[in-house]
């Protein structure tokens, strides 16, 4: 059964690897032949082939997989921890490998019927005089060849190279632009060196807030979201901890629900939440703070409940043995163990929220980010420079402070 699974998964993995290699080759060709930087929609396309050509491609893929599987452990076989050996346990001879390659076509043609009927050793392996065996553990006396002389090592290298090459082209890495367009970046450097602090205290006529007002808004958005988020995540974290909540079916359902909530909400970008709340609650800092709050509850909830799951069970046992009830056990054996970590995580979250408080302004979340994006869109770089400098200064001070507090706590 185990070998059957290994065979099937190894085949699938190898198929995926070769398909990926083929596709990246195609993408590279396409990108260099039909380069169109202005239409990102067309950066990756399906090859437009006739059905006939598709058939050739598919057969070619299959052949490539069978060939790599016959000659040395392929990447799929390596990952599943199996390799081919001859009857006597030695690496198979060339003839045996060729025979295996030939006979495995039959196995593929019957959709692996032989592997299902005889999972230990299907027909094509018997005819070729080879066997599929688990790889010896790395510490055993059998010396393995170095990776660059094996099929799986070379395939992995090829995959890595293809990934880098495609990534390089796809993300339009163009180092020349770094040099040629350096003059364009001068504007922003000038802005940073000669910032224009005219709106530092005086309100900007369009936004009606000064930079300091915006900064205070951002700071308090982050503060409100962090404090309220921590308070809300605290009780939820116990419901989301397997060792506290999941003790009977109802508890297990609560546990699963809580964890699901954490995972879904956490992986949705804060900006998305900010856009929702900007419509719901109207543009402004309240929408931004609510978005930060929602994301904070989920992110902290997950971190917190993991902490609860990793506590030392000893004190729990000891406090239970004194005759305490569940609430008392949580209060005296669980909470003291996790509280310092909770605080550390909350402070860490505060650092993140402060930065995200700027980004939520992109969709109407309020705060100093609003100045930043407005000035950037107007290409008023010296004002942008002022915002960036002010914000950086704040972030430094806050990072220093929070790092110091975290050190004191833990």
């Amino acid at each position: 059964m185990k070998l059957l699974r290994a065979r099937a998964l190894a085949f699938l993995l190898d198929l995926l690897v070769w398909a990926y290699l083929l596709y990246s080759g195609f993408t590279l060709y396409y990108l260099s032949a039909l380069w169109s930087p202005w239409r990102p929609e067309e950066k990756l396309v399906w090859p437009a082939l006739s059905p006939w050509a598709w058939a050739v491609v598919l057969v070619g893929l299959g052949e490539a997989v069978l060939l790599t599987q016959a000659f040395g452990p392929s990447l799929g076989q390596r990952l599943m921890g199996v390799h081919l050996v001859a009857e006597d346990g030695a690496p198979p001879k060339l003839a045996a490998r060729l025979a295996y390659f030939g006979f495995s076509h039959l196995a593929l043609a019957t959709l692996g019927l032989g592997s299902v009927l005889h999972p230990q050793r299907p027909w094509h392996e018997r005819w070729a005089g080879v066997r599929l065996e688990p790889l010896p553990p790395p510490s055993s006396a059998v010396r393995r060849p170095p990776w660059y002389r094996t099929a799986y090592g070379l395939t992995a290298l090829l995959v890595a190279l293809a990934t880098l090459a495609v990534g390089w082209r796809l993300t339009e890495v163009d180092l020349r632009r770094l040099v040629y367009d350096a003059s364009k970046s001068l504007r922003i450097w000038y802005g940073l060196i000669g910032p224009d602090f005219r709106y530092l205290l005086a309100p900007d006529p369009r936004i009606k807030l000064s930079l300091v007002d915006g900064l205070v808004q951002s700071l308090y958005m982050a503060l409100l979201a962090t404090v309220a988020g921590t308070v809300a995540a605290f009780p939820l974290s116990f419901l989301g901890a397997r060792n506290v909540a999941a003790r009977h079916p109802v508890g297990w359902a609560i546990y699963a629900l809580t964890r699901g909530f954490f995972n879904v909400v956490r992986s949705v970008e804060t900006v998305f939440w900010a856009a929702i709340f900007a419509i719901w609650l109207g543009w402004g800092p309240f929408a931004g703070a609510t978005a930060l709050f929602v994301h904070t509850v989920a992110a902290l909830g997950k971190l917190f409940s993991e902490q609860v799951e990793h506590i030392d069970p000893g004190p729990v046992e000891a406090v239970t043995a004194t005759g305490a009830n569940l609430l008392q056990v949580v209060r005296y054996a669980v909470v003291p163990q996790v509280l310092p970590q909770y605080l550390a995580f909350a402070i860490y979250r505060w650092d993140i929220n402060l930065r995200m408080a700027v980004v939520v302004a992109l969709v109407g979340g309020g705060g100093i980010g609003r100045h930043l994006f407005e000035y950037k869109d107007d290409l008023r770089w010296s004002l942008v420079g002022a915002v960036i400098l002010l914000f950086m200064l704040t972030v430094w001070v806050m990072d220093y402070l929070s790092g110091w507090i975290r050190e004191k706590i833990v």
Binding site: P40, E41, K43, L44, T163, L164, V166, G167, W168, L170, T171, E172, V173, D174, R177, L178, D181, A182, K184, S185, R187, I188, D213, V216, Q217, Y220, M221, L223, L224, V227, N263, V264, S267, V268, E269, V271, F272, A275, I276, I279, W280, L281, G282, G284, P285, F286, G288, A289, R355, V358, V359, L362, V363, G366, V384, I388, F391, M392, V395, D399
Partner: protein
């Protein structure tokens, strides 16, 4: 050609050696001078300076911290109260004289009657005394900046307030901690938190009724969220792949750079004056660069090379290099010196020591840090994209700005799927490594 390069190399080595010799000679000369003439008077001067600094740390720093805290309390109270009263935010309610007076008096009384926050930080407290004496202490407390002078004269480095009273600042031992509701510091701390929250509620214009009254505005949105624009799936998938590749490329090119730099940024490998200088320069530049947020880097690069995924890659790259350099270097600093010593004892040269004594110890942490950073980069790639770094984030910001919620939901769905699979994948790989 070969001889040409050999010559160049020899020249460079000779130059480096000469520089090194010169620096070492200077260093040695300085130490020799100190050893021969400087020690006793210099030591005495240093001791005096240290005692003075210690006195200032206990007598000047805490009051300053307390004043900053009280000033903040005033500010936050003003914000909260002014908003509650007038609906507008004001930073000071009364004139500046009042501010100075209130903060000063509170600070003096607080310092005389309890272990203030500042004193907690430096782990000192006041010795017990009668209320009258405490009042006297409070009266002289505002003179605390004069400690700069008195600490020079006084042997114990006392502040003026201590001079005129019999109260002393002593080290706080393992005394019984007082309940927070029984000490002024506790009240002030709670007040600080409460006022901060009140100010936060005021500044962010919290209006919980809006959740209900404005609900119908979101109906369009709820409809959209349950009908994602499936026709965007193809485009979204392409952008997703692009985003993924942004993270891959940034991480892949950051790793060799960071690994090379990390050896130069490891304190235990950089011995001697010149290497130490290099170490300091690298560490300082690193922490400076790291503290500039990736979002700001993205804005800078979006202007530099134009909006697009290249800008995003550059922003992620810069941030990854400095972050990984720090993580790697810390790992190198934490290695077991035993093997290094053993390899050195066999007569191996520096590079051999690195290869056989250091690298085997750090290879696994390096890989797990790299995975961790890749994990972060995948998430950051979308955020960086929002501000002009290309990829799926840029499109998402665009749709959100245009209230195209079905499309935005589709992209968000894809991002969620990507984040989950990456989470799962890197957890599996790290499990295998551990």
């Amino acid at each position: 050609m070969k001889r040409f390069w050999a010559k160049i190399r020899a020249g460079v080595w000779a130059g480096a050696a000469a520089l090194r010799r010169r620096a070492t000679a200077l260093w040695e000369a300085g130490r020799g001078f100190l050893r021969a003439y400087g020690w006793p008077p210099l030591r005495r001067a240093a001791e005096f300076l240290l005692a003075w600094l210690k006195a200032l740390r206990i007598r000047v720093l805490p009051p300053l911290l307390d004043l900053v805290f009280l000033g903040y309390l005033w500010l936050a109270t003003s914000i909260a109260v002014s908003f509650a009263a007038t609906g507008r935010v004001a930073y000071t309610l009364l004139s500046w004289e009042w501010f100075v007076l209130v903060v000063g008096v509170t600070g003096a009384l607080w310092s005389a009657w309890d272990q203030t926050l500042g004193l907690k930080v430096v782990r000192h407290r006041l010795s017990p005394a009668s209320p009258g004496m405490r009042l006297l202490y409070a009266l002289f407390w505002p003179l605390f900046p004069l400690t700069l002078v008195t600490a020079l004269v006084d042997r114990e480095g006392r502040s003026p307030a201590e001079w005129f009273t019999d109260l002393r600042l002593v080290e706080a031992g393992e005394a019984r901690p007082r309940r927070w509701y029984r000490s002024p510091t506790g009240w002030l701390a709670v007040l600080g938190l409460g006022v901060s929250l009140a100010a936060a509620v005021a500044v962010t214009r919290v209006d919980l009724r809006a959740f209900v009254t404005r609900f119908e505005k979101t109906l369009k949105f709820w409809r959209a969220i349950f009908s994602p624009a499936w026709d965007q799936a193809g485009l979204g998938l392409k952008l997703l792949v692009e985003t993924l590749f942004m993270a891959v490329v940034a991480t892949a090119f950051a790793v060799p750079v960071a690994a090379a730099l990390s050896f130069l940024a490891a304190r235990n490998l950089m011995r001697g004056p010149l290497p130490r200088l290099l170490y300091t320069v690298l560490r300082v530049t690193g922490s400076f660069t790291r503290s500039i947020d990736a979002i700001i880097w993205a804005i800078i690069f979006a202007v530099w090379v134009g909006t697009g995924s290249f800008a995003g890659v550059l922003a992620l790259f810069v941030h990854s290099v400095v972050d990984l350099m720090k993580l790697y270097a810390e790992q190198i600093e934490a290695i077991d010196p035993g093997p290094v010593e053993a390899i050195t004892a066999t007569g191996a040269n520096r590079l051999q020591v690195l290869r056989y004594g250091v690298i085997p110890q750090i290879i696994n942490p390096f890989i797990s840090f790299t995975l961790y950073r890749w994990d972060i980069n995948v998430r950051m790639a979308t955020v960086v994209g929002l501000v002009g770094g290309g990829g799926i984030g840029f499109r998402l910001a665009w749709y959100l700005g245009a209230y195209a919620f079905s499309e935005a939901t589709m992209l968000t769905l894809l991002i969620v799927l990507m984040v989950w699979s990456i989470d799962w994948l890197s957890a599996r790989i790290r499990e295998k490594l551990a």
